[in-house]
């Protein structure tokens, strides 16, 4: 069962078994993650491997008598650097020699490692504390052993670079203490003091990723790179329209292609398609990828296309937009918007449209399964959520979890796509059918046609200024097919979890607020893409705020500061018609603090020299948006090139993510986020006609190329001692409206639809 705290939906809890975690469940996991599991795992000294003795105080650390320190990375590496950042934390507390630490990727196993769902920008947030404790526990034990040996007090010792050192100048390698740790007790958790921030050697610094050189030399292993003896390759023709069923197929021509060995049907779920199930399809299994692709092309399949064959995304978007003129389901209410509207001196009403987006990870989905005669199955997959993948395979094949081993490779990009285990299940089904190891290889066309798309959206915002010109009312209508609809066809409104992503958590001081949703159906698979519905919500909200500032003849930065409380912990629970999930964290632990939002606004304006840029007539745009508990403000500058093309000379970000663990990876996430968001804003869109996706490859679904990238991306990290929060997704939301607002300054045209052509 996947755990996606931000998708909790109060209204429909329990209805959709698949993706909505109960809050209790989530809390259980976070308590586990916040230290419980450290005690849950027995202290052990594993027996000798030859002469080697290993000390493994918890599941994350082992120290060999030859001084090798190994740290387990239990979260998936898809480009955020998490495979480096969490082990770094352990190593820093332990006092290991970072240059010599070995990092090993954990297999998917919830009992052993706790939550491994690498999603929602919460790896660092959830595991900063537990990883420190894991490292510190081992440090305590090593120090105790050394102190005992030297007959001195433990408080006279510390660790550094893989050694215990005494204040009197004694030194001993970790490895030399291993043997003596055999019958030692785990220290009581309460007795452990974590290091002071100032004494960290790794945390808070720019640290290179562990796989840096392996990647640059082509040695890094991604999903499709795993090779097994006698492995065959499968390429699948999947239902062209979601819900389509195979009536019959003819595999004669496919089987005639040299290298093609067999053809198998995969049963799909129909409608709803499910978040963890394969689509209906016919698989061609061959000696190599090329033969399988050619075999797939030669298949003749008769489809019953089903109820989605008439679907047009353009038509639906029109209907969605029209629906926003009426009254919707009220999801948050403060004051009385209608009276604000009646008494208004000015009403601004704008609409915003955004398309379906595909993840288009550069590595298309691929997975390898080896289903063996003894009924066990071993899998290698680039999965963000190995535990869900393991469970989905168990469900699909009616197997015991214990009989499935889920190995995690590097991911060639994830962005939410590789949370879904459909492609992993395909591999397992086909390995069993083919009685050999099988790699399922998706092509780019498969990836774009059969993604779990970011939903298209229509929004209407009405803003009122009272007779004195004060910002008095905010009425936001949002409509988009819900992620939940992929699992349960009766879901017609966005979940409260999806609205908390930048919509009902609208933080500004406006006396009258009404936020409404409208119905829309999903006719394709909907999933989550890097920052999820924050993408379209931030676009609409921050573009509208820019217009309000203009109507009030105010500088946009000054305007935002004028409607934001000085220093307040927001509590919107009386206004929101559902529990406020706060990305799965209690507000007491992670308050919604307006001072921190002001902090990033002021910082970005200062660093970019906003006032000067404005006074010099530069086309600059600004936006601020908190998501995934991280506060981000952004300033984008645009100009026109010789051929009239848009050039983005500079981007400035200010980010408050609490303590910055690996500052280089924070910067790289923001650099990448700006580039990713440029694609969303300017080049990418998925459309469907007759139920079929119309884009086939990177010519139709375009992502930006080097010449289109912002030239300089400056990332200003706020100094903070607050608890760390994630940075994978937060760079995306404010960038798009900041860019749109800059484009308006350049061209005089407001942007109301993504992607825009300027």
């Amino acid at each position: 069962m996947p755990k996606f705290p931000f998708l909790k939906n109060k209204e429909t809890e329990n209805k959709s078994k698949v993706f909505i975690p109960s809050r209790r469940d989530f809390l259980k996991i976070s308590t586990l993650a916040s230290g419980g599991f450290l005690l849950g795992v027995n202290f052990q000294c594993s027996g000798p491997k030859g002469e080697l003795v290993t000390f493994a105080p918890n599941v994350f650390i082992s120290i060999d008598s030859d001084n090798q320190v190994t740290i387990i990375a239990h979260r998936s590496e898809m480009g955020t650097g998490i495979r480096t950042s969490l082990p770094m934390i352990v190593a820093d507390e332990l006092g290991a020699d970072w240059e010599k630490v070995k990092i090993v990727q954990a297999e998917g196993n919830e009992e052993k490692y706790g939550d491994q769902n690498t999603d929602g920008s919460y790896s660092v947030r959830m595991f900063y504390e537990p990883m420190r404790k894991a490292g510190a526990t081992a440090r305590y034990m090593l120090i105790a052993a050394a102190a005992e040996k030297w007959g001195i007090d433990a408080s006279d010792c510390h660790t550094e670079k893989g050694q215990v050192l005494s204040s009197g100048g004694k030194k001993i390698n970790f490895g030399d203490l291993v043997e003596g740790l055999k019958d030692k007790e785990m220290p009581d958790e309460a007795s452990i003091t974590l290091k002071e921030f100032s004494s960290y050697k790794l945390i808070g610094k720019d640290i290179a990723i562990y796989d840096n050189k392996d990647i640059a030399t082509g040695k890094a292993i991604f999903g499709a790179d795993v090779d097994l003896p006698n492995m065959q390759v499968a390429v699948v023709r999947r239902s062209p329209v979601v819900g389509a069923k195979v009536i019959s197929y003819n595999d004669e021509k496919a089987l005639a292609i040299p290298g093609v060995n067999s053809v198998h049907k995969i049963e799909g779920a129909g409608i709803p398609p499910g978040l963890d199930k394969p689509l209906e399809g016919v698989a061609v299994i061959a000696d190599n990828t090329w033969a399988a692709m050619k075999g797939r092309d030669a298949l003749e399949i008769e489809w019953d296309l089903g109820e989605n064959q008439q679907y047009s995304s353009a038509k639906q978007l029109d209907e969605m937009l029209k629906s926003t003129t009426g009254n919707g389901q009220v999801r948050r209410e403060r004051g009385n918007f209608n009276s604000a509207r009646q008494g208004a001196g000015q009403v601004l009403e704008r609409t915003y449209l955004a398309p379906f987006y595909a993840h288009a990870t550069l590595e298309p989905p691929a997975a390898i399964a080896d289903f063996r005669e003894d009924g066990t199955c071993e899998i290698w997959a680039p999965t963000q959520h190995p535990q869900w993948a393991r469970q989905a395979v168990a469900d699909a094949m009616q197997m015991d979890l214990d009989n499935i081993k889920m190995n995690v490779t590097l991911l060639g990009g994830g962005f939410g796509r590789k949370s879904k285990p459909d492609f992993v299940v395909e591999a397992a089904i086909l390995s069993k059918a083919a009685k050999s190891p099988v790699r399922v290889q998706w092509t780019r066309e498969d990836d774009l046609h059969h993604d779990f798309f970011h939903a298209q959206s229509a929004q209407r915002i009405r803003a009122t200024l009272d007779k004195n010109g004060n910002f008095s009312g905010w009425n936001h209508h949002t409509v988009f097919p819900a992620i939940g609809a992929t699992a349960s066809a009766t879901e017609l409104h966005p979940s409260s979890g999806e609205l908390e992503l930048g919509c009902i958590d609208f933080p500004f001081e406006v006396p009258n607020i009404r936020i409404e949703t409208h119905e829309s159906k999903a006719h394709t698979r909907i999933g989550w893409l890097r920052s999820v519905s924050n993408i379209h919500h931030a676009f609409a909200i921050s573009c509208m705020l820019d217009e309000i500032a203009e109507a009030k003849k105010m500088d946009p930065v000054d305007f935002i500061l004028s409607i934001l409380a000085e220093n307040k912990d927001l509590d919107l629970s009386d206004e929101i018609k559902s529990d406020f999930g706060n990305y799965g964290e209690p507000l007491e632990k992670f308050p919604w603090n307006t001072k921190r939002l002001r902090g990033v606004i002021e910082k970005v304006a200062l660093e970019a020299d906003w006032k000067k840029m404005v006074s010099e007539g530069k086309a600059v745009g600004f936006a601020v948006h908190k998501s995934f508990l991280t506060y981000v403000a952004c300033i984008v500058e645009v100009t026109k090139g010789n051929n009239g093309q848009i050039i983005i000379p500079s981007v400035h970000y200010a980010v408050d993510c609490g303590i910055g663990v690996n500052t280089d990876r924070i910067k790289s996430q923001f650099e990448g986020g700006a580039q990713f968001a440029t694609s969303l804003a300017m080049t990418s869109a998925i459309t469907l006609e007759n139920g079929k996706v119309q884009q086939n490859n990177f010519d139709g679904y375009q992502i930006i190329r080097m010449p289109q990238s912002p030239k300089k991306i400056h990332v200003h990290i706020m100094e903070s001692m607050e608890k760390p929060t994630g940075v994978g997704e937060p760079p995306v939301p404010p960038y798009i409206p900041a860019l749109c607002n800059a484009i308006y300054k350049l061209t005089g045209e407001r942007i109301y639809q993504l992607p825009f052509k300027a």
């Binding site: 290179a208 796989d211 640059a216 030399t217 991604f222 040299p258 090329w290 590595e363 290889q441 490859n697």
Partner: protein, 151 residues
């Protein structure tokens, strides 16, 4: 199915393949050289870039029958110990995020530096425009190429 002898990283390799099999799959599936990546199969992303002679070539779109006796260099053969100036610069700038596009980026950049040892920023941008990076490492790639070009 035909027998072909091709030269990869200075070594002669014999393979049996259908004549239309792209070099990419020959490398990956028949020779088990996994450094060259599959991203689009249509010469649109550059993930599969290798050198044919000194030219950057999209191996997904080059059939084995067209390779002949030209010398093919893949990421595995770019340098002995991963110490090509571009690889060193890549490590120094910590270019990769997910890393999937990077071998193609490096091979494309290697061809660029062979034909133009000190490219301007604009020349880098246009020479690298065929290589997609979904994670958004373009700026660091550019910086790394500039660094390598100065070494």
């Amino acid at each position: 199915m035909e027998k072909y002898t091709i030269t990869v990283n200075g070594k002669k390799q014999e393979v049996t393949a259908s004549e239309d099999m792209p070099l990419l799959w020959v490398l990956r599936d028949l020779l088990s050289m996994k450094g060259t990546k599959f991203g689009c199969g249509q010469a649109l992303c550059g993930a599969c870039t290798v050198l044919v002679g000194d030219e950057a070539t999209r191996s997904c779109s080059l059939p084995i029958s067209a390779v002949g006796n030209q010398n093919i260099t893949t990421i595995e053969g770019l340098s002995q110990n991963g110490d090509h100036p571009l690889q060193k610069a890549w490590v120094e700038h910590i270019v990769p995020q997910c890393g999937y596009c990077q071998t193609g980026q490096i091979m494309n950049a290697a061809a660029l530096l062979k034909s133009n040892p000190s490219p301007s920023e604009a020349e880098i941008e246009s020479a690298m425009a065929g290589n997609l990076c979904r994670c958004g490492t373009y700026n660091r790639i550019k910086d790394a190429i500039l660094t390598a070009s100065k070494s």
